[in-house]
């Protein structure tokens, strides 16, 4: 018997979901503890909080992917051991970050080394800023023997769920994403086009900040990139496995 096509499988699945035979799955059976959330890192100095941006992202992920999320965006200090309960973390800033203590640096390094993921989001929308300088100093202390490098276009981050051609956020100043890799894993991503600014929405559901120069289409691309970042944080280089690459190439999507 030949396998069902993907579209047919989805149709069948949708039909099955609508029927009473299968019934609706209780997606909250295990509670919220192990569900995917996002923690904001509160650093002295120029870090800011945009919980609505991450809530929006978690909602988008829940709607679009099979990942079970909980709209929970705690804000904690880097030296707080509670950081280890949230393997996906974001650090958003628009001003100079004050230097962290050695203990905080050590904890943050351990967090990233043992499986945590950190997205650093530059909200300034500027090519040069005090935030950028302080981030580079912070990364230099975290990984003295590693350096930030622009992610190649075939990195799994750009294909973990959506196929991303250009990494944009609220602005589109930079055509690349910088990152630090440990072996085959990339636990730290530094994004300079203000991703959280594109994700933020007000109570009316409209974007808090205008996206320039591409408007709502640019915001849509930013959301897709944000989904990919969370998907990558969970599946790492899964999309670089041979089976996936071969299949995507066969279908002409790579």
């Amino acid at each position: 018997m030949s396998p069902l096509s993907r579209r047919a499988a989805l149709r069948l699945g949708a039909a099955a979901a609508a029927s009473a035979c299968l019934g609706a799955r209780d997606t909250f059976a295990f509670g919220d503890a192990s569900k995917v959330d996002c923690v904001e890192i509160n650093m002295p100095g120029g870090s800011i909080s945009r919980p609505e941006a991450w809530s929006r992202l978690l909602f988008e992920i829940e709607q679009t992917t099979s990942i079970e999320t909980v709209s929970r965006v705690p804000r904690i200090a880097p030296e707080d051991p509670a950081l280890f309960e949230h393997p996906f973390a974001a650090l958003v800033g628009d001003g100079e970050l004050k230097p962290l203590s050695d203990a905080a640096i050590e904890q943050l390094r351990r967090y990233l080394t043992y499986g945590g993921f950190l997205l650093i989001d530059d909200a300034t929308g500027l090519k040069r800023s005090a935030f950028d300088d302080s981030v580079r100093k912070l990364i230099g202390r975290l990984f003295p023997t590693r350096s930030l490098f622009p992610l190649p276009s075939d990195h799994a981050i750009f294909r973990s769920f959506f196929l991303i051609n250009r990494p944009v956020g609220r602005v589109a100043l930079f055509d690349h994403v910088e990152a630090v890799s440990l072996g085959e894993i990339t636990p730290l991503v530094y994004f300079r086009n203000d991703l959280s600014g594109a994700l933020s929405r007000g109570a009316d559901g409209r974007g808090t900040y205008p996206c320039t120069p591409g408007g709502e289409n640019q915001r849509r691309e930013a959301v897709k990139l944000a989904v990919n970042l969370v998907m990558y944080a969970l599946t790492s280089n899964y999309k670089q496995d041979q089976a996936h690459v071969a299949e995507l190439m066969k279908e002409g999507r790579l």
Binding site: S2, F28, F30, S66, E85, Y114, G115, F162, E247
Partner: protein, 747 residues
């Protein structure tokens, strides 16, 4: 008084004069003579004439110097002896094979002795080495013709023999035969006389079926077929069909009929696909027919080490999660694991966003290929929070049944909890429920979302999966402080034959038993595990938060993998034989190694073991040394595949584990692997040295060199230095010189 008396003896003209005094001593004597002559001349020159006096003195001193040089007259003499003939008799066991009721070697020797000259005949026997004299017994274990011919050349160096006569069947195992067979121009042996080869053994008079070789390449990979190439030789059975059997550890694996060619040769191969790693004895055998000359060569055992190329793991996950993330990282970073992951990134419930399919990097879940075609290529299948229903649909029974069969045939399966697993995944009543270590059908509710600290059970305290630390107390303490888990899939309790390793501290099944959290089970030849939670990732991050790393998590999953796939490398008790095959009568060295959970050696572990083959059992016991090792020697007294089992206990009596291995004992004689005489080799050998090759029934006289022989040399020495002539001459000349001196008035 003859002239010869004055020279000290009779001397002939055909001789040579040699001097025996060292040069320095002769030089000293000559110098003394010159000084004496000079002093005499200096004193006498005042009263001339001095010529005659000095002449006499100079002659006397010259004679003295000649005598002091130690002259010896050496005369060479000798005579030629009649030539010797050497007979080399192949004394190996192949020469003892019966032909027409008589050992082929004895039969041929009787005929050869009628043809070789008995005068000055020197007889040697050879097998691996050359032995002078003695009656051939045809009991030597090998044949090295090159070594025998070399030995003769060295022994008779410088002598020309009348002939070198060899009696052999040509079944040389020292390399010469291989060179003559494989090389175009092999270097011929250097011989001290003409070679005559008398071939023993008549092709066609021997009935013998033998397994000549079994080539397995030494090792194979798990789940990959390897081939055993078998070569048969059966003189006397040409054109017949011979059944060939392949057994493993005494168990029949396959049997094939082989049609022998007109030369009695046959080939067959067996394809074997091992599903377990370790060392195994495969034995190829053919029946012993009536009249079979050597029944011992009808069986050939070969030990094959089966290794894992890499552990093939299929991880199927219903939803990306932190638990899936950390398990994938663990599996992906292990170089011994070949991981194939399939994560369901989107379900039919996740289509509410309006993204075009071309924007997605998703691929079709190849469930049918994985679970209908490729399943057997994996060692371990992990269902991690995976709901099969939207994909398998009407194929669910078949595909899940394949997974159950895969396990029963030796595969390993793990189900990890979540809101798509166990009862939540509607696995009750499917073939999967038959292999799980827990019984499904918990009723309502099907999950519990409260955080809890799993509790180590009695079996969990000793099971290798949950032994994270070597010390039992420390191990229990570690489990007590590991991060709590977030929720639990409920079950009806452990399945029959399973072991619960971790249980919930308060929840009970409907039967009142502690609710299983982690359970294991052996199903057929495979193993399964149920982990009814989805938050073991916290064992990494919580430990990392305390600065204690991720060792607990890594060790738990490493233990799990090793136990599930029965990896012998992961066994804490290992026993190994020094090699795979042993001959009857040899010692079998066995090493036993006992390690703790951290794989450090355990000193003082008590080892009790047994080696068994058929009805034969040998028991032994020992204690490990400070490195955790012990060496045992067992006698190889009975042929066959032997399985060794050992059990190790600590000094306090606690079980440390068990191990086993196999080895083969054979009475197979390599000398008797092949019995048909090699006439072609013997003919080539004789031709290469311009010798003669005789086959049975056509024996002729040996090739002899009539002019051969040995010149015996003798030397006669006459010591001229001791001849009476020299002191006489010296005395006369010095007296004359003294008299002339006195006449001139000198003193």
């Amino acid at each position: 008084m003859s002239l010869w008396w004055w020279l000290g003896g009779e001397v002939g003209p055909d001789a040579a004069l040699t001097f025996t005094t060292p040069g320095w001593l002769f030089g000293l004597a000559a110098a003394a003579a010159v000084v004496t002559l000079f002093v005499t001349w200096r004193d006498a020159r005042r009263f001339p004439p001095v010529g005659v006096e000095l002449l006499c003195l100079a002659l006397a001193l010259s004679v003295a110097c000649f005598a002091a040089a130690g002259p010896v007259w050496v005369e060479q003499a000798g005579h030629r002896e009649p030539p010797r003939t050497v007979l080399l008799i192949d004394d190996s066991r192949s020469m003892g094979v019966l032909e027409a009721g008589e050992p082929r070697g004895a039969r041929a020797l009787a005929e050869v002795m009628d043809r070789v000259p008995s005068d000055r005949l020197e007889v040697f026997r050879f097998g691996r080495e050359l032995t002078a004299g003695g009656e051939p017994s045809f009991e030597q274990g090998s044949t090295d013709l090159a070594q025998a011919l070399r030995g003769v050349s060295e022994r008779y160096a410088g002598e020309r023999l009348a002939g070198v006569i060899v009696l052999t069947d040509g079944l040389d195992r020292g390399g010469m035969r291989a060179r003559y067979t494989n090389e175009d121009s092999p270097e011929p042996p250097r011989l001290p006389g003409p070679l005559t080869v008398y071939q023993a053994g008549v092709p066609g008079e021997l009935d013998d079926v033998s397994v000549v070789s079994v080539n397995a390449g030494g090792f194979g990979f798990m789940h990959s077929p390897f081939t055993l190439d078998v070569t048969l030789a059966a003189p006397g059975f040409e054109g017949r069909n011979v059944p060939v059997s392949l057994t493993q550890d005494g168990r029949l694996l396959a049997q094939r009929d082989v049609a022998l060619g007109q030369d009695g040769a046959g080939k067959v191969n067996f394809s074997v696909k091992p599903n377990k790693s370790g060392r195994f004895v495969y034995e190829v055998s053919v029946p012993v027919w009536e009249g079979d000359a050597v029944p011992g060569n009808n069986t050939m055992p070969v030990a094959v080490r089966v290794v894992r190329d890499r552990l093939r793991v299929l991880q199927v996950c219903g939803s990306p999660s932190f638990d899936q993330k950390f398990l994938r990282l663990f599996l992906k970073q292990d170089p011994a694991v070949d991981l194939v992951s399939f994560f369901i990134l989107r379900t039919h419930e996740d289509t509410r966003s309006s993204y075009d399919e071309k924007e997605l990097s998703l691929i079709k879940f190849p469930y049918e290929q994985l679970f209908a075609e490729d399943l057997a290529s994996f060692d371990l299948v992990i269902f991690q929070n995976f709901d099969y229903r939207p994909y398998f649909q009407e194929l669910a029974g078949e595909l899940l049944g394949n997974v159950a069969t895969f396990v029963k045939e030796g595969g390993a399966f793990v189900m990890i909890g979540g809101d798509r697993s166990f009862d939540e995944g509607d696995y009750q009543g499917t073939p999967i429920s038959e292999i799980l270590p827990v019984t499904l059908g918990a009723g309502t509710p099907r999950t519990d979302s409260a955080s809890f600290q799993p509790r180590l059970t009695g079996p969990g305290r000793v099971h290798p999966v949950t032994r994270l630390l070597g010390d039992a107390t420390e191990n229990e303490a570690l489990w007590g402080r590991l991060s709590a888990l977030d929720g639990l899939n409920l079950s009806a309790g452990p399945a029959p034959g399973s072991a619960v390793l971790l249980s919930h501290p308060t929840l009970r099944t409907q039967k009142g038993e502690p609710m299983p959290v982690l359970a294991v089970r052996e199903v057929g030849r495979g193993r399964t595990m149920a982990l009814l939670g989805d938050s073991t990732w916290r064992w990494i991050m919580a430990e990392a938060a305390l600065g204690q790393g991720n060792q607990a998590y890594l060790r738990f999953w490493k233990n799990t993998m090793r136990w599930l796939v029965k990896d012998p490398e992961g066994d804490r008790v290992q026993v190994a034989a020094a090699r795979e095959n042993f001959l009857l009568g040899e010692d079998v060295p066995l090493s036993v190694r006992v390690r703790d959970v951290g794989f450090g050696g355990v000193e003082g572990a008590v080892i009790e073991g047994s080696a068994q083959s058929g009805g034969e059992v040998v028991t032994f016991d020992t204690v490990t040394d400070k490195t955790g090792e012990a060496l045992i020697r067992l006698p190889a007294e009975h042929r066959g595949p032997w399985r060794v089992k050992v059990k190790a206990t600590s000094a306090g009596g606690g079980a440390l584990g068990e191990g086993e291995t196999v080895y083969a004992v054979t009475d197979r004689d390599p000398e008797l692997d092949e019995l048909s005489p090699d006439a072609a080799f013997l003919a080539l050998l004789a031709q290469s040295v311009s010798g003669t090759h005789y086959t049975p029934g056509a024996y002729g006289p040996p090739q002899l060199d009539a002019e051969a022989g040995r010149l015996v040399r003798e030397a006669r020495e006459t010591p001229l230095w001791a001849a009476p002539l020299w002191p006489t001459l010296i005395g006369v000349l010095t007296s004359l010189s003294w008299w002339l001196r006195r006449r001139r008035g000198l003193r």
